[in-house]
């Protein structure tokens, strides 16, 4: 590990901006992912699966909170990030812009999107930014259970009815390209980070994601989808493609309706 100090003293503005983008992108993705998980607290295939979805939602919100708090190192007020931004400013991966339509999409979200975010956390841990090191260990411990649930359910659905297989295949095809690109964009900001050692190069991150997905995609007789091409829709400020989560989802993330009751 390189042992980067909090706030990256002496670092260039480009490096600090790139690191802030990474943290906000991860935090926003985990916050929206938590909402997508919470949507299936009711309606999951069993009571136990619903409880697991609820617990995973809490985990994701906890991870988001810790990542937002890290932005304090750069003079950013986490409360502003959490409560004062519009949907258009959210940097969450676009695979989460729409809700998970069914349990197959939920499981694809766990395996593909949550899995890719876990690889991003691993990259961050190996980068050695000191004020997140202790936090990421806890997050990765919780993610092991998300991985176990996703893996077990993916195998069940892949061995299930043709309809279950097709729904899962469709969800993986839709989610993987943007998720891989968001975690490992390989654009100028990402290269600035990986050149400094704060995270891994895009090729390494993509290989790790591919290695996670390959055995599961094989069960569906499909190739691991490639990352979305770095075309004109890439928003380098947010580190994601064009578009945004729906405003009502961001309202839920911010807690607008209920905060208005008691927050001045």
């Amino acid at each position: 590990m390189s042992g980067f100090q909090a706030g990256l003293p002496g670092a260039s503005e480009e490096l600090i901006a790139a690191f802030r983008r990474l943290l906000v992108s991860l935090a926003d993705s985990k916050r929206v992912l938590g909402i997508r998980y919470s949507d299936w607290l009711l309606g999951a295939p069993s009571l136990e699966a619903g409880i697991a979805a609820s617990s995973m939602a809490q985990d994701e919100w906890g991870h988001a909170r810790l990542l937002y708090a890290t932005l304090k190192d750069f003079g950013v007020d986490p409360a502003t990030l959490e409560h004062d931004r519009s949907a258009a400013e959210y940097a969450s991966v676009e695979a989460l812009d729409a809700p998970f339509e069914d349990w197959a999409a939920f499981i694809a979200g766990v395996v593909v999107v949550d899995g890719a975010l876990t690889v991003a956390l691993e990259g961050l841990l190996e980068g050695g930014y000191e004020s997140v090191d202790g936090r990421i260990g806890k997050m990765l411990g919780e993610e092991e259970f998300h991985h176990s649930l996703g893996d077990a359910w993916f195998r069940r659905l892949a061995g299930g009815s043709p309809e279950a297989q097709e729904r899962l295949r469709t969800a993986v095809r839709a989610m993987a390209p943007p998720a891989i690109r968001a975690v490992a964009p390989g654009d100028e900001a990402h290269r600035t980070l990986s050149d400094s050692g704060l995270t891994l190069p895009a090729e390494q991150l993509r290989k790790r994601i591919r290695d996670r997905l390959e055995p599961l995609c094989r069960l569906l007789e499909m190739e691991v989808p490639e990352a979305t091409a770095a075309t004109g829709d890439w928003d380098s400020t947010r580190g994601r493609g064009a578009g945004a989560p729906a405003e009502d989802v961001v309202e839920r993330a911010r807690g607008d309706r209920n905060r208005a009751l008691f927050v001045e």
Binding site: S46, E48, I51, A52, S55, F145, L149
Partner: protein, 80 residues
Amino acid sequence: MEEKIYDVFARKSRGEALSHIGYLEAPDDALARVYAWKTYDEENWFEMCVVPRSAILPVNRDDGPFSLGGRSKAQMGGRR
């Protein structure tokens, strides 16, 4: 989706005995592990294990809580 009953055992510290803390239904061992950890998360457990109820052999009674042989609630007609 056929599910089996799993019993959940846990302890809070190394020196403590494992205690039966509850049960759950799951389609396989892998999901039983996750469901147990996510359902019974009220403590910071030192150790948790799940056991398929069908693996528990009653010794001196056949009407105890572990003597249903791992049949699910549905299979028992709602009785547990």
